[in-house]
């Protein structure tokens, strides 16, 4: 299966045959988003006993070109929610502004509790579903990480079709193939969450970011990471992969352009 954002939400070629692009009009009265343009790759996240860790690299690709290298794809909503955006960057900016105006409206009444991660996930999933129903989807795969109403760790996703999914570990894009199996080794189910502390979860996520950089051609070694606990959000936006080296590549033989 093709993991690239261009293929998200489309019928699978191996099942239905190649997509007939003549259905996509090249002229006509209304043109909605039919493909993403500038895209971000995987977002990965894992719950631990006191909160959630979420990470995404700082790259925005223009097709296969590494176009922007300082794009921050984790957005802090308030002191208990962070949203991670995979997919189209301009749609991410739209959603960021939408969340900004939502936050302003929430602050008009000071007495009520602020929106928690669960509230925000419900809201965003509905926004995504509404837009797909208008045949004008926001080409993103979102991870919403934070705390729910009982201050328990909360992690869930919403994609461009409005599909929601929740698990102790989540990954979007290529990460769903590359990082998810590694994450599940440590966190196979909800019970396992209680046995993982912050340090272990951060280490696990950092390891996955490294694997993603080695194997995903649309990734970068600079990334953002956020840790959400009861104490608030700890967001670092200019992290560099540690102990990363291509030295091993020299010894690999059998494919590529080497002669021997």
């Amino acid at each position: 299966m093709n993991h690239l954002p261009q293929a998200w939400g489309r019928p699978r070629d191996e099942v239905y045959g190649a997509y007939d692009h003549s259905h996509l009009q090249t002229s006509g009265p209304t043109q909605h988003t039919q493909q993403p343009i500038v895209t971000g790759t995987s977002v990965i996240a894992a719950k631990f006993k006191d909160g959630v860790v979420i990470a995404a690299d700082n790259l925005a690709s223009y097709g296969s070109l590494a176009r922007f290298t300082d794009v921050k794809r984790l957005r802090k909503f308030n002191s208990e929610v962070v949203v991670g955006f995979g997919g189209d960057v301009s749609d991410m900016q739209y959603l960021d502004r939408l969340l900004n105006s939502l936050d302003i409206q929430e602050n008009y009444s000071s007495s009520e509790d602020s929106l928690n991660a669960k509230n925000l996930h419900t809201y965003l999933a509905k926004v995504m579903y509404k837009r797909r129903s208008e045949f004008n989807p926001l080409w993103n795969h979102l991870l919403i990480a934070g705390l729910d109403a009982d201050a328990k760790p909360f992690l869930a996703s919403a994609d461009l079709l409005g599909t929601t999914f929740s698990a102790p570990t989540l990954a979007t894009g290529f990460g769903s193939a590359l990082a998810q199996p590694i994450l599940r080794r440590t966190l196979p189910d909800e019970e396992a969450v209680a046995g993982v502390d912050k340090e272990a979860a951060v280490k696990l996520i950092k390891e996955c970011m490294k694997v993603l950089f080695y194997r995903d051609a649309r990734s970068l070694d600079k990334y953002s990471i956020a840790i959400i606990t009861k104490d608030g959000v700890e967001l670092k936006e200019n992290e560099k992969l540690e102990n990363q080296s291509w030295a091993f590549a020299e010894t690999i033989r059998g494919y590529g352009t080497q002669v021997n």
Binding site: F68, D70, Q93, D96
Partner: protein, 282 residues
Amino acid sequence: MTSIGTGYDLSNSVFSPDGRNFQVEYAVKAVESGGTAIGIRCKDGVVLALEKLITSKLLKPEANKRISTVDRNMGVVSSGLLPDGRHFVSRARDEAASWRQMYKGPIPTSALANRMGSYVQAYTLYSSVRPFGVTAIVGGWDAEVEVPVDGQVGSGPATGSGGKKDGAKHGGPFLYMIEPSGLYWGYYGAATGKGRQIAKSELEKLNLADGELSLEEGVKEAARIIYVAHDDNKDKEFELELTWISSLSGPTKGRHEEVPKELREEAEKLAKASLDDDKMDE
């Protein structure tokens, strides 16, 4: 009242022969019977305070807040007709939101005052509407540092031309008062409502133009002035409402918020104590 019986006060869009719009003057009368509202522009922030008159013992104490937040960094307090005040705030929020839509950043306090001034003034021009029965005080803190554009994802190239002037001063505390005529000025200290005369003379004693008063002192002065302006014998009971906006490095981080309960109660205690001192002197 010279206007009564002349017929020149019956319609909004009609001048009297000596160049007055009586409907606007009647609106000002509505404001003059409202609870006192004040705003103080301090060195490092703005304080808004209101003498909220209790109209019924059946109302829940400290509920039904009257000072409202516009965007994140501005507050509005008004005196006069309550529903007019709420409509004013609603319009101010819409203006702030539409500014964000257009410019991808927060509206400067001066621009909001300008837009609201124009809006209120439009209600003095047509016979089909009446003027606003409120005088509103708008306080805000415009960011002193460069804030990211809404939806900004990166900082762009680290090298190359920037076009920014170094050392230029931006932002700070701002205070405006908008009257039913649409007239608005920027103030160091503003007061409206029933006790405005006393409040204004108290504000003048603070030498606000020097820019020396700190925000915390401002909160205490605001509480004291509301208590001084309140006439115990004539008026109903009241609740003190206090909000503030500090610099980004201050207690509210550039946001408009209620003054924390402890500080408000301390300010109220000091206000009552200073009133008692004054009585002893007499």
